[in-house]
């Protein structure tokens, strides 16, 4: 396995609360990493360090290093908006931008000046196809995005995120607000996307972790308890807590 994201001595504090403690991880390229653990264990907090989302909160402090292909994302000369284009995020609940379906996908390409005119239209179509939404919306691209169903909205958010050409896709429980059919659809998309992207998901659904994960990280109380190839962690966990969690003794 080839490492793409290297996390070293990472600590996160919310005010005085020590939310992440000395995290060290190597996440593989072109695979799906799933972070599991009980509520409040720091899964989402860890995920948000990967696209520097904690920068947005004044009372959150991050120390340590997160390297993407050898570049420290927290180095002083790194442009945060560039980090967030390279590392895309699909949120728990879809939030389309207050614009049309077309403009939602075009938005990122417009602000980063990636395409215009016919090229822009072609790219919007392309990413809507990748997200599996094109056939459902091709006749109404100029209607408000809010009129889509919630499952369609999540796929729109996926297309919108892919349109800025990221290398890594983060998902913060991206299926938890969806109905089972839409959730399955998103899972299928993610499985296809790992051909071209590195995917890091937070999940509290063990079934989903078992199904999707190539690499599994188990967290507990702000620490990484165990991490490794999913097959290995799932079949032969080294740590007692990991085993207890996987057997459903707590969640």
């Amino acid at each position: 396995m080839e490492t793409q994201i290297k996390i070293r001595d990472l600590n996160v504090y919310y005010n005085k609360v020590h939310a992440l403690k000395d995290i060290n991880l190597d996440l593989p390229r072109g695979q799906i990493t799933v972070i599991v653990g009980p509520s409040g264990c720091g899964k989402s907090t860890l995920l948000k360090t990967l696209n520097r989302f904690h920068d947005l909160a004044d009372d959150t402090q991050v120390t340590g290093h997160v390297e993407l292909d050898g570049v420290d994302l927290y180095a002083p000369d790194v442009e945060v908006t560039e980090v967030r284009t390279k590392v895309g995020l699909i949120a728990q609940r879809p939030f389309p931008l207050p614009m049309s379906i077309f403009e939602n996908v075009a938005y990122g390409m417009r602000i980063h000046k990636l395409a215009r005119g016919k090229e822009l239209r072609d790219k919007v179509k392309h990413y809507l196809e990748v997200a599996g939404l094109w056939d459902e919306v091709k006749g109404r691209l100029n209607t408000p995005a809010r009129d889509l169903s919630i499952g369609q909205q999540q796929r729109l958010c996926l297309a919108r995120g892919l349109a800025v050409e990221p290398e890594v896709i983060l998902g913060d429980e991206p299926t938890s607000s969806l109905d089972p059919i839409s959730a399955k659809f998103i899972e299928e998309r993610l499985e296809e996307l790992k051909k071209d992207y590195t995917v890091v998901l937070v999940s509290h659904v063990l079934r989903q972790a078992r199904h999707l994960a190539d690499y599994l990280v188990f967290m507990y109380l702000g620490e990484v308890v165990e991490a490794g190839p999913a097959e290995q962690v799932l079949s032969a966990p080294k740590n007692d807590r990991t085993r207890a969690y996987l057997q459903g003794e707590f969640y």
Binding site: F53, L56, T81, T85, M99, Y107, G161
Partner: protein
């Protein structure tokens, strides 16, 4: 499962009655005002009144109309609203995008609330003091500046309230695509809050066009339509005030007709704001 009359039921019923009575008082007062203005003003409302400026002795029952006050009021409130918009939007942005939940933001909000509560007469007196210090005379420009001050707190606080309603996840969606704070503010905050922002602007316009005390000292009054920012300007509220104080019945009638014009203008503005808000909310995420 049988229906019973408990205290909770009685409280519920009483509360509903109180609510209905309170609403009735509100609607009743509005209706009474409108009816009074209509009955007393409508007979005096004619084309001359709204298309002519006062001729000789208009305020003693002579010929002419209140076109000077209509144009003056539109210029005063329009100019004030435009200037206030240029100052209010950056402040509202600043509070919601850049300073977040900081102490500076809450300090600004408190300052604006205090400014909102200051009587408009005080703004007028303040403007008058400044004008005297600079040797200026009552003018359209001075009136616009004082109205701007009066309108800023209303505009900023109304904008602030609608911007605060925008879910933070929406801005985060833009940030996660690599948008800067300004890009996220323009594309998400403004679009999402647009119906409310329009309402805020028109609310401030309504306050500006209806205020008499702040323009009394600063814009003065004139029988002519102002030709420059330096010339004094009439306004509808002052025209109402001067005419209603007259001993001549037909002048008082004209005063009610003037009030009718002002009321219709404000009614038109509030309907326009509702219409625009509905049109602009097409893309708003709920």
């Amino acid at each position: 499962m049988k229906k019973r009359w408990t205290l909770a039921h009685l409280e519920d019923r009483a509360m509903r009655t109180i609510m209905q009575l309170a609403s009735l008082v509100l609607v009743g007062v509005l209706a009474a005002i409108l009816v009074t203005i209509f009955i007393r003003g409508l007979p005096f409302l004619d084309l001359d009144l709204i298309t002519k400026t006062p001729q000789g002795g208009f305020f003693l029952g002579g010929e002419g109309g209140i076109l000077n006050a209509i144009v003056g009021s539109l210029l005063l409130a329009g100019g004030g609203t435009l200037l206030a918009l240029f100052i209010s939007l950056p402040i509202a942005f600043g509070i919601n995008v850049y300073t977040g939940a900081s102490r500076l933001a809450s300090l600004l909000r408190m300052a604006l609330d205090v400014l909102w509560g200051i009587p408009s007469l005080v703004y007028g007196a303040f403007g008058f003091t400044i004008m005297i210090a600079f040797g200026m005379r009552a003018s359209l420009g001075a009136g616009i500046l004082v109205l701007t001050l009066l309108q800023i707190p209303i505009m900023v606080r109304s904008m602030d309230e609608v911007m605060r309603m925008v879910p933070s996840e929406l801005s985060q969606a833009a940030y996660s695509l690599g948008a800067t704070r300004l890009e996220a503010a323009w594309s998400v905050l403004v679009r999402q809050a647009l119906p409310g922002l329009v309402t805020a602007v028109l609310l401030a316009f309504g306050r500006g066009i209806g205020d008499a005390a702040s323009v009394l000292f600063t814009a003065g009054f004139s029988d002519r339509i102002p030709t420059s920012l330096a010339s004094p300007s009439a306004s509808l509220p002052l025209a109402v005030f001067f005419q209603l104080g007259s001993p001549f019945p037909e002048v008082r009638g004209n005063g009610y007709a003037t009030a009718l014009v002002l009321t219709v203008l404000i009614l038109f503005i509030s309907m326009l704001s509702r219409f625009l808000a509905r049109r602009l909310s097409r893309n708003v995420i709920r």
